[in-house]
Amino acid sequence: MVEGDLVRLVARTAQGDQRSFKQLYEHTAPRLYAAASALLSDKHLAEDVVQEAYVQIWRRAADYHSERGQVSTWLLSILRYRAIDALRKLKPSQDLDNIDYENVDQASEPQPYSLALADEDAGRLGDCLHTLAGSQRASITLAYFQGLTHQELSERLATPIGTVKSRIRRGLTRLRECLDQ
């Protein structure tokens, strides 16, 4: 299904067309469900989050316009914010793998995104993330994928909050420069 078709489905969804919405779901849910499963280790939670995301997509279809990027990007954003909300409601101990964060500066990555961003994947984002210092990359990916706050990052990485904040800033700066090339 090409982008134009997806845009049409979204536009019809915005007008209350349930059939188009169902088609949109059928074409896009496998990827969103995969994303939710990657973000949330709990299968039931992943389902709940995808469900909430699509209900929101139904209600907010009128929000979409092409300046926001491709339809799939817009859908993914909705899903990720939902997943982050879900993660923030959980206690930290429920979703952590046993991760050794002491060696972050030696470029060990937080799970599970090391899978998505492994060297063999290349891809612009992966490449640019690898231009960051390990600590910057860890902070940004933990925030992005797991919704950790500055305070939580500080605790998780055993680093003062000020240092966390400046790592994020510098990491974002470097990332932006790389992405803009």
């Binding site: 849910a29 995969a34 389902e47 139904w58 990007t73 914010y81 800033r169």
Partner: protein, 226 residues
């Protein structure tokens, strides 16, 4: 703290997308997004640029029950496709209005769970300028200029609702000089209105915003449930 390398807006937008802004900072930034095309674009760029991680994820078929549970949550009423009928009268006069006031009364019919909602904007003299009513059942939105001050010849005023997430949604142009306009909101917009957190009015070129988003917000107010 140096922001020489990327501008502050891009930095804030990045932190916004990462979910790192404090509640206050987030609200301030969302307000900036209302008025600044630059801020909105910065957020969308980060969202797009950071989305690449899904590209290599293998698809995963969701269980059939997932669609069923979504379908159940979409009310039949929202599913009804409502015609998008717009009738707008727009008049202009010589002087410019700076402060605006109007009262929004949303009156649900036969829908007890939906509480009436009111948005109140007061100018310095607390003079209402527009009377706006909406029927949450039919989606009909009516705006009547009660005492609207004259506008610049080459400007219109546009009404927006603010969903709790995402950009403002236009509810159309506001009439002036005792004119009245009636329109029926499509189901998607009506659904958003039911959950909107506020309303805003912007000054626009004649015919309304060209960008689909407010140009200069002159007032905004929260929607309150009575």
């Amino acid at each position: 703290m140096k922001y020489e390398e990327i501008d502050l807006v891009s930095q804030l937008a990045g932190e916004y997308v990462l979910g790192l802004l404090t509640t206050k900072a987030k609200l301030r930034f969302e307000r900036l997004m209302l008025e600044s095309q630059n801020a909105r674009r910065a957020v969308w760029r980060w969202e797009q640029d950071l989305a690449g991680w899904v590209d290599d994820l293998p698809d995963k078929a969701p269980p059939p029950r997932l669609w069923r549970s979504i379908a159940r949550q979409i009310s039949p009423q929202e599913g009804r496709s409502v015609g998008n009928m717009w009738r707008v009268w727009s008049f202009s006069a010589s002087a410019a209005a700076v402060a605006l006031a109007f009262m929004l009364l949303i009156s649900p019919l036969n829908q007890p769970p939906e509480l009436p909602q009111v948005a109140v904007f007061n100018d310095a003299e607390a003079q209402p300028l527009w009377l706006i009513s909406a029927n949450l059942n039919t989606g009909e939105l009516q705006a009547r200029a009660v005492n609207a001050k004259a506008l610049e010849v080459d400007e219109d005023y546009e009404l927006w609702m603010l969903p709790d997430e995402g950009p403002p949604q236009s509810l159309g142009l506001l009439p002036v000089n005792s004119a009245e306009s009636t329109r029926v909101l499509p189901a998607g917009l009506l659904a958003i209105l039911k959950n909107a957190k506020g309303l805003a009015i912007s000054r626009e070129p004649i015919g309304g915003s060209r960008t689909g988003l407010p140009t200069t917000v002159v007032y905004q107010a929260p929607l309150l449930s009575l």
